[in-house]
Amino acid sequence: MANSAAAYEDQENLVSGKKPPSPTSVFFKHLLLVAISLTTLAPFVWMVLTSFKPLSEVSSLNPLPGTWHPENYRAVFTQIPFAHYYFNSVLVASWVTFLQVFTSSLAAFAFARLRWPGRDAIFRLYLATLMIPGVVVLIPNYAEMVKLHLFNSYFGLIVPASFTAFGTFMLRQFMLTLPRALDEAASIDGASPWVIFWDIVLPLSRAGVITLAIFSFMGNYGSFLWPLIMIKSQYLRTLPVGMLFFDSVYGRQTNLIMAASVMNILPLIILFVSTQKYLVKGIQLGAVKG
């Protein structure tokens, strides 16, 4: 198999008229790539190994556990309401993702595919708000939630996060690339704007919508500052806030903290590996804010 791949590469090099890269240079590039990968992976490996250690071995400098303790993972669930944290994070992130995609795809359609007076002025206003640091609106939004009695509730976590100028901007850019003839033809056939949106534009914007959805989910699953100030009850905490309290109360139990961390990032790794085809393209289209 390796032979045929090498033959294929040789052939490709012949076609493009380039010298095949020398085996030593290929070897050194791989060596470098492997070294960087190991540096990237080392902290994760330490995290996983430590999560299986008994408490007595945490401060031992041998990275491998003397005896393996998978029951550390169960202990996390008995010491703190970890299942609640998990559930809350997934619930809040799912709702925010759904609402963000819903509201911003509608708005993006209005900006990208409809002509109306004032459109460009309002769009520029949206763009300008991308510059506003989140902390500027933090205090007013907090005060607003307290006034509306949404403080310390799922609503208070979900609703303020559900509107995104950035998502609107991104989906608008995406929708602008679709040929205009599509909706004009449908419009001549008497299709309403809603039908054009739902049956034509939205399905064709699938890749953009999926990218936005992944980033929205990921960002809100890991969201920290807003849940930190919005939630007081321990059963409403999301994972990042729960982790913070776990760490500050049970901080000496590094093995359990690491087990919790592993469980915290596991869904993200699964999400990433299963969707990276979309993600990489989406980021490269400029789909990411920072």
């Binding site: 990237t40 806030v241 961390s261 915290n264």
Partner: protein, 317 residues
Amino acid sequence: MKSRRGDLLPALAFLAPNFLGFLVFTAGPLIYSLCVSFSDWNVAQPGVFHWVGFGNFLDLFKDANFHTYFVNTVYLMLGIPFSIFGSLMLAILLSQKLKGLVVYRTLFYLPSFTSGVALMILWKALFNPDFGPIDYVINSVNHFLHISGKAPTWLLSTHNLLGLDVEKVGFNAKELGLGARDALIIMGIWTGIGGNNMLLYLAALTNVPPDLYEAAELDGASKWDSFRHVTWPMIAPTTFFIVVMSVIGGFQAGFDQARVMTQGGPAGTTTTMSYYIYQKAFEEFQMGYASAVSWLLFLIIFVMTVINWRLGNREAD
């Protein structure tokens, strides 16, 4: 193209849900926050409310804490050039014709995708001077080479590579070394180097037309020449974008790290502007003062954005 006035009503309907959210959670709060920044509103003293004009802003210029926290914020941004340079190097490596590139790319991207509180707690343990593996490795190397130096205490240390003094803005040779801020920079580089910037560079590198390299090769250009005169100018817009976004992000950064890893310490050395806003608002309840700090931060970012935008436009001309 005919003007379609008939689009106005549907457009408003499509826009309404998002625009309503925009008014309630962005535009309204923005105005509210500006008003609050001119007041002495303090949640801990109900009933007391005065307009203080520019009082908060004047206090801010005299606030020695704010000066050092501003310097901390800028110091933490020293990692940006290294991070960007690293992303470019990784992208160049990944743009070679090699087997297994997707696997490498996935691994490099992993820290940035999983970044957040869990990884910060992990790094807190890694930097621990008693049982953390980083100091263990440093001590072993020192021992092996018969160096008597002590490993840095990282998150517990006010030391820094520029010798910044602790209580005030200035130089103090005693502070030279590696400390909490450097630890955060190292973590930041590890997290960000293989992230979005690398992917953006990767896309930019694949978009350089191959015939430009062929032409350079025919002219007898070395690898370095063709990087310097072909690659670098061709990816300049990407570099520009990445630098702008990193600087804007850098000014707003530091809250999560400070809250999770250091509580802003030791001696306030990892307190950044955003963490100071949090402390003022949600620990000391001085909403007026905190709002003033956040508007100053906004102003800094606004000025940076305008300057960058001007520079970018000039380059495009």
